[in-house]
Symmetry: C2
């Protein structure tokens, strides 16, 4: 068991590394050539221009202003300065509410920590159970354990304090949760009421349009809604299966990149035209002139794209049985989205249309029966992934051992005899395999969610997040409390009575406090601090800048602002809620470490949200019910574990008082679900009507139909066309003249603004590019 001194050492080390990260960040950030890596959001918004222009050559790349080095923690202050309404305006509601999760952590745990330190720690401290035991058994008790519940003798009356505290903590947590739910729901309503006109406010997505031998999908949809929503129906937009087309466009883009690369290479060194081999991966095959080759390839693909575009537009088979249906008013859209249209509830399914940017196009055509089957398969797959993931890992690890490698790749045997290589394989590889798997886990879960058939990116992320949380709960929390694989845990769940399980876990909880304290410091302190450095985007940007960037526009697309990545980050925050709630009554000394995590995370991610991340979509905080639900789950787990622990402590009389807690907590959850969850799923008619009325008063002559015309066109049919043509022209031009003319046009294809303001005038922008 670690002593306070050990913990202090670890803390010093982790604080040190966190500071090192911050220092590195501060230095890298103020170098002008990194400006686009650390402030991409401002570029995307068009509010910041490159500091490189119009400076001395050295100053273009290195910051020589020494003062700015001294104020290296100033960014924290800047990040906290922006008020919340401005933040919502700047980064969207999703980001602002995401930050509130950290804030909620502080709100919950600051009072709990104060209470626990003033009441529970003295109560635990003023016993001598452990020191007596230690004296008898001649071992030294750790200081941490002296401060935990373990120090209280069996059957002591002091446990009443812990029970009272469990009640107090539960009530306080529920109170904060309730207030937060209320606030977020209000913020959402306010956001929806004040946000600009968006096409999805007027539209629903109808899926599973039944096949009809006599009518096309578009006619069918039009007739159905003209009959069933006679005064409200406005227009409809069928969905094309343009996955192949999208692939081709993607391919062309890649070619374009290569062309840019060789083009730039040639431009810099005008003497030698670059050559490439056309075979596999450019490793063998005929040698040709790279620029000519890519020009011809791009032309070829462009022709293919044109042909495919023609085919998609004319072939009725490329129309999937789904459509975006738009209505004259938001009220009518709200009505259609919330009601059942057809007697068979699996046909003519209507849902709110996601934002155009949020649509996950490949999933729009999945039929209902297949949907439930896909959920079943993925449910089972997730079960196996959670409890059996160690099996393939172990196989890979055994393969990655020295003997395994020798067998698989005999030609490596010489290499494997080197001492250093042996040490690396034995010591590092197994851990690396596991680490790699865990790194890719969110992506794996994301692929699983995609297979399940969700139709918007936001819902994909929400589903992945909930799965990731469960995985973490089993494999990070439970497996570390009782050492053993998830499979062993599963066996004990099946073969042990529930009371026994609660006891085993409850007993193990206090012993694992030091482990989790170290975990919090490494993962929560240093990890969060490392996030701000953005090492991968930094490297990628400079590589791209070196090899691909030709124009300002290219430089813009070389920036990778990233996004919050809700599906990967939120479940990890939830782990800290779980740890905090479980240890609040058991080992309160853990709480300050959690507080530091929440505070640090809040500042760091507030900075990132303001300066870096660019959200792809705006779901108006639709994830909050899931966040709330997971905190409730953590609360119930903490109560059950405390019950188990107290049972083993022979506090039999007091334990029954704890049974009421989980019941009350679950009841509270159901109350919140009924009271607040509809705000995140449905759109009240009153709000819709209010917004319609306001709009009618403000813009009486608004033509909604033309506004909505091409809002829900597949992205490959949209505005990108003109860019393509522009580029082709450019290429042709280059063929003729050979000097670069950087265009002034700024592209906003993937800007965060697009997500909020975006398609406010798409009809004028994309006029004439609709599918014929």
């Amino acid at each position: 068991m670690a002593t306070l001194k050990d913990i202090g050492l670890a803390a010093a080390f982790n604080i040190g590394s966190a500071f090192a990260f911050f220092l590195a960040f501060a230095i890298l950030k103020i170098q002008p050539f990194n400006d686009r890596v650390y402030f991409p959001k401002w570029y995307l918004k068009g509010l910041r221009s490159s500091p490189i222009h119009g400076r001395a050559l050295v100053k273009k790349f290195v910051n020589l202003d020494l003062q700015s080095y001294i104020r290296f923690l100033n960014w924290m202050h800047d990040a906290l300065k922006m008020p919340e309404p401005e933040l919502i305006d700047h980064a969207g509601l999703d980001s602002a509410v995401y930050l509130r999760i950290y804030l909620m952590g502080l709100k919950i745990f600051v009072p709990i920590a104060c209470l626990a330190w003033t009441i529970l720690i003295p109560i635990n401290w003023t016993n001598d159970t452990l020191s007596t035991v230690a004296r008898i058994k001649n071992i030294t008790a750790s200081d941490i354990d002296n401060l935990s519940i373990s120090n209280i003798p069996q059957g002591s009356q002091r446990f009443w304090a812990h029970i009272a505290m469990a009640y107090a903590f539960t009530f306080w947590t529920c109170y904060v949760l309730l207030k937060e739910y209320e606030t977020v729901a209000d913020m959402r309503f306010h956001f929806l009421l004040t946000e600009r006109r968006r096409p999805d406010q007027f539209s629903v997505l109808v899926r599973n349009v039944p096949p009809d031998p006599d009518e096309s999908v578009s006619e069918l949809v039009e007739h159905f809604f003209l009959v069933n929503h006679p005064n409200n129906y406005l227009s409809s937009q069928v969905v094309y299966n343009a996955n192949k087309l999208a692939d081709l466009v993607e391919k062309k883009k890649k070619m374009q990149n290569w062309f840019d690369y060789y083009h730039l290479k040639f431009a810099r060194n005008n003497t030698k035209r670059p050559f490439i081999k056309t075979g596999f991966w450019g490793l063998w095959g005929k040698k040709t002139d790279a620029i000519d080759y890519y020009i011809s390839e791009i032309e070829k693909v462009s022709e293919e794209i044109a042909a495919e575009r023609e085919r998609v537009a004319s072939d009725p088979k490329s129309i999937v049985p789904a459509a975006f249906v738009s209505f004259k008013t938001r009220w009518a859209a709200a009505v259609c989205a919330q009601t059942q249209q057809f007697r068979n509830p699996t046909l003519w399914l209507t849902d709110w249309a996601p934002e155009p940017q949020d649509v996950y196009w490949p999933n729009l055509a999945i039929p209902y029966v297949s949907l439930t089957l896909r959920r079943l398969i993925m449910g089972m797959a997730f079960f196996f992934l959670t409890f059996f993931f160690l099996i393939p890992i172990t196989i890979v690890q055994s393969l990655a051992s020295i003997e395994g490698l020798e067998k698989a790749f005999p030609f490596l045997s010489h290499l494997l005899k080197i001492q250093f290589v042996q040490a690396f394989i034995a010591g590092v590889l197994p851990g690396l395999v596991l680490k790699l798997f865990l790194m890719f886990l969110p992506s794996i879960l994301m692929i699983m969610s995609k297979f399940e058939g969700f139709i918007s990116i936001s819902s994909l992320e929400r589903r992945s997040a909930s799965r990731y949380y469960l995985f973490n709960l089993v494999n990070t929390f439970l497996c570390n409390v009782i050492v053993g694989s998830a499979l062993q845990q599963l066996k004990s769940f099946i073969h042990q009575p529930p009371t026994e399980i609660a006891k085993t876990f409850g007993m193990a909880i206090p012993m694992k406090a030091t482990f989790f304290i170290t975990f919090i410091m490494v993962d929560g302190w240093a990890g969060v601090a490392a996030d701000i450095l953005r090492i991968k985007p930094l490297v990628m940007f400079h590589l791209k800048n070196l090899f691909l960037v030709k124009t300002e526009k290219d430089r813009e697309s070389a920036m990778d602002p990233g996004s919050i990545e809700f599906h990967a980050r939120e479940p990890r925050i939830q782990l800290y809620f779980l740890l905090g709630l479980v240890y609040a009554t058991v080992t309160p000394i853990l709480l300050p470490f959690i507080l530091v995590f929440f505070a640090l995370g809040y500042v760091v991610f507030r900075h990132q949200v303001i300066n870096v991340y660019s959200q792809e979509y705006e779901s108006a905080a639709a994830f909050w019910p899931a966040v709330h639900g997971r905190v409730i789950m953590a609360l119930v787990i903490s109560q059950v574990l405390l019950m188990g622990l107290l049972t083993t402590k022979a506090a039999a009389l007091s334990t029954p008082f704890l049974i009421a807690l989980p019941i009350l907590t679950i009841y509270f959850h159901r109350f919140c679900k009924g009271r607040y969850e509809p705000a995140f799923i449905r759109y009240p008619l009153e709000e819709a009507m209010m917004k319609d009325t306001l709009e009618r008063a403000r813009e009486p002559n608004l033509n909604v139909k033309s506004y909505l015309q091409n809002a829900f066109l597949h992205p490959v049919f949209r505005g990108d066309d003109d860019r393509d043509e522009n580029e082709m022209e450019e290429i042709m031009k280059w063929e003729n003249e050979s000097d670069l003319v950087p265009t002034k046009r700024t592209s906003r294809r993937t800007t965060p603004a697009a997500s909020k303001i975006g398609s406010s005038t798409p009809s004028s922008q994309h006029e004439g590019q609709m599918v014929p």
Copy 2:
């Protein structure tokens, strides 16, 4: 263990008693003076008139046609003769679909029984495990056990046959369930489309109207819906808290009955005016002339009613924050019922309006917060009722012992010394107490559901049914499989691992087969046969006929047609599904007994539905999803128990093959839920629009507003008024002249027709009786 001979004896006895009931029924039924007891539905429909008029005096009361005694089982044929569409027309969809539950039992179990008898019984029979064991241990194995799975040796390969059969039975059951769900959903849509115009088709019930200092509830409702459903809103009807008024009306009715009684007594014996004592229960107090007393009392109550009616109509406090809102079209009502109106989802709650007859008025004013709290309390109360009900029963039983009674009522000690009384108390009373409790259980559960705040009688019955099923599952099924109280079962559930529980129950299952066979015969055969006798209504009718009936109209209200009583009967049918599915693979010999139950039940209740029961309301088979869900639950239980049983049989290799079954079954349930349940909860807009369009074409000049005017008035404000006045006049008339003039007017207050046709013209009928 019982042998086949014992079972045969019991079967003979129960078949005998069933026949005795049928014989008694046949004899009683064809006596003219019982006609109203056994054919009340036809009287209520006005399709049958009393056979007493215009016959010889003897023939009026006793049937002397000997031929009709011979054809004493003819009613079965008559009951089966009526085709289903006619049955729906005659008795409503609820009754017709209720009968389909028995039919579904036959559809599921006839093929299962055939398969099990041809395959499983030979496989079980051709072993000699039990006879070997018996020879060694010198006991005789019962024949029943030789036919069951117990006869197969440990670890035999023959268990594969049982596993294959488990799969076959599951697939067949699911197939039948799917087909039935589909059929019932179609029947419901067809019924809704073709049924007559009903006020609830145009109306929604809005609850939790928020208080407003400036506007009355009625103004508030009108404004809110005029704003948010501008083109569709038609009218609204506030809800009065008329519970006190309803009590007064009830009191007046009672007085009226007593008046009728004494009035009739005096009319028969004109010499002596009847006297009563006005004190407690008529036991002491001043002696007065009974007729004069009741006349003055009735007048007094009438005045009170008038005053209360005035108060309710004028006092704004008697208006509860709820209202029935009617729309111009069914489409608009469907929209309003399925959408959220207000940003706070606990205010302005809209739901389909129940049928006017179906409304449970006292619950309309319960606020949302209180609703969730009530559910929590009742959930806990039900938990305690299920697992701890034996505790109060035991207390009452100990009180009902000889010592207990002697202590409580010392003055009875002489009586308690009589041998016969002692035997009665010791032998019969404890069982009687339990029996009484179980008899009143459905009523207790109904009161609990009422407390929970459901607003329609149909939903009250559905909730009670699901609770009754769970109670039966625990206390009839589980507690009989493993002898022990529910409390002991609960303890083992908590303290044993789940696999252990499945094993214990699985092992006990085959041993309990003979017990359940006897149970099926007593409860399922003789019990169902006894139902047709209608002993309680028979006695009550003749008593009322003797003492109260004055006119034809009174005779009509003396009939007690009863109803299906879904909440008490359906859960008991479900027990047979459970037994059938559990024993299908284990002891197939039980199946024919189940088949007899379903066949008998189908015939008996088809007769009752056609000739007797009068449904209070029509929910259009809204209970089917619950029926379906409970059969699925039985299926899963049967699979888990089989798994437990096979584990103990050392068929370890084969058991894992069974794990897929519950997973597939639950997946099937989820599929059905998604596919068919919405048909029972929502009303698709297409159907509503179709019905609206048809109606507009047929009756272009229909005035919906006047049609709906008073449809949702509290029953005490409705048509009964004219009856009251009529009666007062009658009483006054009697005061003057002394001979009876039976009125020809037939009242249809509680007719079944009212439920379907009912208020089709209430505006003309109740004109002028609305609240001032």
